[in-house]
Symmetry: D2
Subunit: 154 residues, 4 copies
């Protein structure tokens, strides 16, 4: 599990294609720490909120899904990079898009940027590759992603 | 930033060498989510608590350090893998050890396991490689890690 | 500090007057705990988000305010009541309104309800009386609320 | 639900009787916010950790209890007062003791202080009265606290 060189992605990576789903997230006191910036673990919450809203946008409500299928998504792996700090009152845009998919897991690529209107411009703050798997909610054991769900996601 | 195959490390990786620093962490309601297990982002808090206590064990108090040097550690990169769920009341042991170090950053390897006495045994729950950099607290700009600090860490 | 009887407020209390500021908040995984409902401490985050947005709605940006005046709001007291659980994917509406105000503190009344469109109806989930004081950010010592700020709040 | 005057309790209140259960809690980055102090909602986590450890000290493991009785404790009301800020690396002591008890709920009094050895002395940071009720975990409906549990608590 070697770490790669922490290079900021080229501009075309930082500026998501127009069709990429993105979700606005505001930075509140709860998100910051004593360094004055957003506490790093809270980006994982931001990424999850955007991922949840992206699923909702595709017609997938996770609570309903659990009741209907008995399954839930869980995170299996994550690769995170942090480039620039975000601060109190900053407005962020967080994207979500499928990077690759299999029968039991999906890898989602997510970017967190300052919103275009902010004084510092649409700076890339953090990016993540997050692998989510499908498990039975009762046992938390891995299972195949239901076909209907795979169709909604593709 | 490709994801590597999520293989559970061999037993000798899961059982930390005796000299590796480890810190006990209990799972409370605040750490869990509606799946019944620890919310994944909270492992980052567990890893940070263990890292902080490991620094303290080496004689490094971060608040003092900031007042004396004007610098703080920040997370630049993280690679996380999640193997097994932890639940309410579980007792964890979380390790911290330097994997590699440079003039402006350190990479820390951390493991979270169930404590040896638990019913399920010392199961490996999660592992992480976390790269932390040194920045000036006022500007959050990268800087060289002070020599005295590097000596304490080696 | 005796606890009062936990009576649900009358309907006219539960249904905020049209002019009361309210802010939509969605329940994500991060907000829930192993009981399946929103972890109680997270309502304090919801109340603070709504309070922050209410201040923003009045033209008050807290980060700017701090840079201009050197002061910040801090919570001094809170009285909280919890009536009904909220769950994953629930949509909430959280209100904020001044209950009373002085020279160094304000008391804000806040309600958290399910949004009108939800299956269970606009159920009252929680209510709070939160006293916030004004302090110098550097020393965290109490100070008089700036006049301009009091005018914006009234 | 009027707010009472925020007077700091007399010294004999701030210094808990020797027999009062208290639990050490360290302040980490995750607990602080951009004001440099502990984010107020996080005291609720501290209070809950101390309450959980107090229950454990009385022989009550909440996860086991849920499996055996089908019930869990939930917070119904809380009154919170905040007196002094806590900062990164501070060591706290948090107490828990029954203030009053009934058939379906208990009121717990909790204090958070700096630990005796700290530079600022055993300053009282926050106090709380927290009413917890007993509910069926599946329905979250109120129920009578099991007799065995009431005996352990008295």
């Amino acid at each position: 599990m070697p770490l790669e060189t922490g290079t900021v992605p080229a501009t075309d990576g930082a500026q998501a294609a127009p069709e990429v789903f993105s979700w606005p997230i505001r930075v509140y006191w709860e998100d910051t720490d004593a360094s004055g910036q957003v506490f790093w673990a809270n980006y994982l919450k931001f990424f999850e909120r955007a991922r949840t809203e992206w699923l909702r946008h595709l017609g997938i409500e996770q609570q309903q899904l659990r009741e209907q299928t008995g399954g839930i998504f869980v995170v299996g792996q994550a690769q995170l990079e942090f480039f620039e700090p975000a601060r109190l009152d900053d407005q962020l845009l967080v994207t979500a898009a499928v990077a690759s998919s299999g029968r039991a897991s999906l890898t989602i690529r997510q970017l967190a940027r300052l919103a275009p209107g902010s004084a510092r411009g649409p700076v890339l703050l953090s990016q993540a590759l997050i692998r989510i798997g499908w498990v039975q909610a009762a046992s938390l054991r891995p299972a195949r992603i239901p076909n209907r769900l795979l169709e909604q996601l593709s």
